[in-house]
Amino acid sequence: MMRSLAIGGFLTALALFAVVEWAARREGSRIPTLGDLCAYVMRYEVGPVPVGRIAVFGFWWWLGWHFFAR
């Protein structure tokens, strides 16, 4: 029962990610795409340090390592 709830919850969240991305790609949409959202975050810098880029790259790197290496 709880397992089904967890699977249902994750599938719903993934479906919502896809729906929001689809809505963002429609012409004249006021929703940014996930790529635009990431690009905006990656603009953040503290002095000469590209903190946003480091954070986004670091998170994505960790995600791949988490799924493929451990």
Partner: protein, 135 residues
């Protein structure tokens, strides 16, 4: 007087095209998909490919797509799936990630044991990484 406007356009490098990058990513994914979890090779390969992409992304060797100056108010819609995912991931993690209430990675692990699925997932990870490097 006639004015000549100089147009500066960045010419993409010969290797910086989908016809080159996609086959390279496919080859890297096929290799990565053969490496089992918890192996030294898998650790080194993930750290190596990711590290190389970060090196490219932090340098100025590649042309980048322009980032938006501001985000429209519709960005709040992204909170909905993120919070839902976070609730389930956090809840299952706090409760110990058992078979009865598994985290997302615990659910994904059996699927990723198949080399073909693993290679496809590897390709998705690398392709998204490449997309981030270009932003």
């Amino acid at each position: 007087m006639e004015q000549h406007r100089e147009i500066a356009a960045e010419v993409p490098r010969s290797w910086d095209r989908p016809v080159v990058s996609v086959p390279v990513l496919i080859c890297l994914s096929l290799v990565g998909g053969q490496l089992p979890s918890f192996s030294t090779q898998a650790n080194l390969y993930t750290l190596g490919t990711g590290g190389a992409l970060i090196w490219l992304g932090l340098g100025n060797r590649l042309a980048r797509r322009p980032a938006p100056e501001r985000l429209p108010r519709g960005m709040v819609w992204w909170v909905l799936p993120a919070v839902l995912f976070g609730i389930f991931e956090g809840g299952t993690f706090v409760l110990g990630s058992s078979d009865d209430f598994p985290t997302f990675s615990r659910l994904a692990d059996p699927l990723l044991e198949d080399p073909l699925v693993r290679s496809a997932a590897y390709f998705a990870w690398l392709a998204a990484f490449w997309g981030l490097v270009r932003r």
